[in-house]
Symmetry: C2
Subunit: 409 residues, 2 copies
Amino acid sequence: MKTRIGVIGLADRGSGMLGILLGMEDIDIKFICDLNVERLEKAEKVCHEKGNTSVIATTDAEDLFASDEIEAVMIFTSWNAHVPLAIEAMRHGKYAAFEVGPAQNIGQVYDLVKTYEETKVPCMLLENCCYGERELMMKLMIQKGVFGELIHVRGGYMHDLRYLANALETGHERSFHNLYRTGDLYLTHELGPIITWLNINRGNRILNLSSMSTKSIGITEKYASLYPEKPLKFAMGDLTTTMLTCSGGETILLTHNVSNPRPYSRGGQVQGTRGIWMEDKDAIFIEGHREDGKEEWEPVSAFSEYTHPLWKKKEELEGFGHGGMDYLVLRAFLEAVRKRTQTPIDVYDSATMLAVSALSETSVSQGGALQHVPDFTSGRWVVREPMPKSIYSLDEIHEDLFEGETLTL
Amino acid sequence: MKTRIGVIGLADRGSGMLGILLGMEDIDIKFICDLNVERLEKAEKVCHEKGNTSVIATTDAEDLFASDEIEAVMIFTSWNAHVPLAIEAMRHGKYAAFEVGPAQNIGQVYDLVKTYEETKVPCMLLENCCYGERELMMKLMIQKGVFGELIHVRGGYMHDLRYLANALETGHERSFHNLYRTGDLYLTHELGPIITWLNINRGNRILNLSSMSTKSIGITEKYASLYPEKPLKFAMGDLTTTMLTCSGGETILLTHNVSNPRPYSRGGQVQGTRGIWMEDKDAIFIEGHREDGKEEWEPVSAFSEYTHPLWKKKEELEGFGHGGMDYLVLRAFLEAVRKRTQTPIDVYDSATMLAVSALSETSVSQGGALQHVPDFTSGRWVVREPMPKSIYSLDEIHEDLFEGETLTL
């Protein structure tokens, strides 16, 4: 039987994800939903073209929540709607998946957790980078102890998005947030994998953070160049750094920088008592690994034995969004829906990511003052059950699941 | 007439610097001083071998302070003695230079500044990396506006010093500090150049900082492997990160990591509204610089036109300590002594560096709590006079001074 889902939000990201979902033979998209009729009709046409002629197109998300036809709701809307829609889906007994974005305040994060604990319906922040090739490779290397005991990890979202400065005209929501808010509002691409590396919410937790933003120049200048007759001053600092401490004694560093010219990077770094990986160098140093004994970097390719099994099928993944990560994160969620198991990124992981973004904003507003990050597990993090065994598991990679057969992802 | 100096502290660093000083024909080393007679006699022998047979070797620093024969005292002692000895030298009317190290508390930093303001005798933290090839190149590129308006800079001291774990036996002071203290105690190698890049104390100042340390494993494990019968628990966190805000709206990130296996790096990064340099990639991206228009890095060598004039004589510098930086920082200080001018790193720059290390320790002890960094200039930073024009100037690089003639450094 196919997994029956509804999709809400059909702008750029939603229509892209819809395209990937339509290619999955075991998925039945029962509903598509968007407030914008034009986008809705365009998506409906795409569904029809791909052979799904029974899809119901609606502008009212309540139609999805009320339906007995679907098992899960996938939310690709604007940031503000992610958590409220996920909560509503869970209240109606439907698995909820929602796209990357910040929490708008810490209260809604508590609400999300409370809804899960009342309903026991899983929800998942669809952090695709948890399934990135390098990120999964690092998880495997960490699990195998290659880095020794972890002490420090880094990541970031460094992406010149000044071209979106015209989005106040075209309606891209990120620009509205950038106009009024400052702090790290887009940190899950790095914090998602970091949570898996450090076993956050599973014997470890984030304790405190401090966050500092620079002045705001990049987007403001870009906007002024596009609309010299009506310049606007954007609030978003060009670059935000956030430091976090963990109960396990590790520290984390996050960087957000979307307003300045630079090559794209997620700035990953994993450092332990035996060695270090640095994404920006695409290099690793592990004590004793080099045959010549030199204290010099080696290319990551020298450690290809640690490629995650999912990425040994790289050529199959390349046709999908963001080099395959989008496909994998969707499959990870949909497998949990089909099996009625916990999602590999669960409500606590999702809440942690959401909370850190909201608290970054708080800390920046206080000049970098220390903020305590809540334990959303209410103490369960010290005695968590392992996640269900799956090829998509992120608490532990189960290499044995990949043995002996060719997988159909 | 030769510049007449005294040298205090003749252990590893001091004897190395003494060797460089002995090679300078315009310098007369009148005194050498160390509490350790063995070290003192060894250094005296070296002086004699190099033709300085009139040097006075003493275990009493008061002999130097009381002498009318010397114009400057150069302090290469243990960290704890740097500031007290510098203060004593200034009180006796002698220029004071002292080696890299942390302040032990914020009070002694105020004392240093007060002594300068009472005596008007300059002092200088001998931060050699201010004269590093890359660091001076960045200063020149920044001055010429290549990076646009600066928003964020980074640096660090990432150097696997675990081999010093046996220093509790051999007496190397860093290990004693590492045994009892945690925080970034060794940040001047990056903060020195950063101060010059951001014009700190000259129209800009550091406002606040937050500092977080990881658990301490690296040195403790190394020590236990060397002395399994008497293991010790070192306090120094393996890695410390410090974020700082500036009144100009820039942020700074510093990293201290001396306890884990990794290739050496000072982790430099300069980022502005037009581009970015990253030391670990040895690469630069400047908007519009690539002929192919790609959003990809270029090697630093593509910007060799910005090599600082001092480093165009690289082959002459290579014979000296740390690839020439030691020679340059010594010459910079000695030129100021000879000309009776302000030192290019002045008491306020030195105080800022010292204070940040002490406040990093404070912040770490409070879990990362925000610390205010004092304005040691007492407001003068908003109206500072330019520094004396010199080939060693760090507030501004004067390329015209290098025109037309071959310099003798």
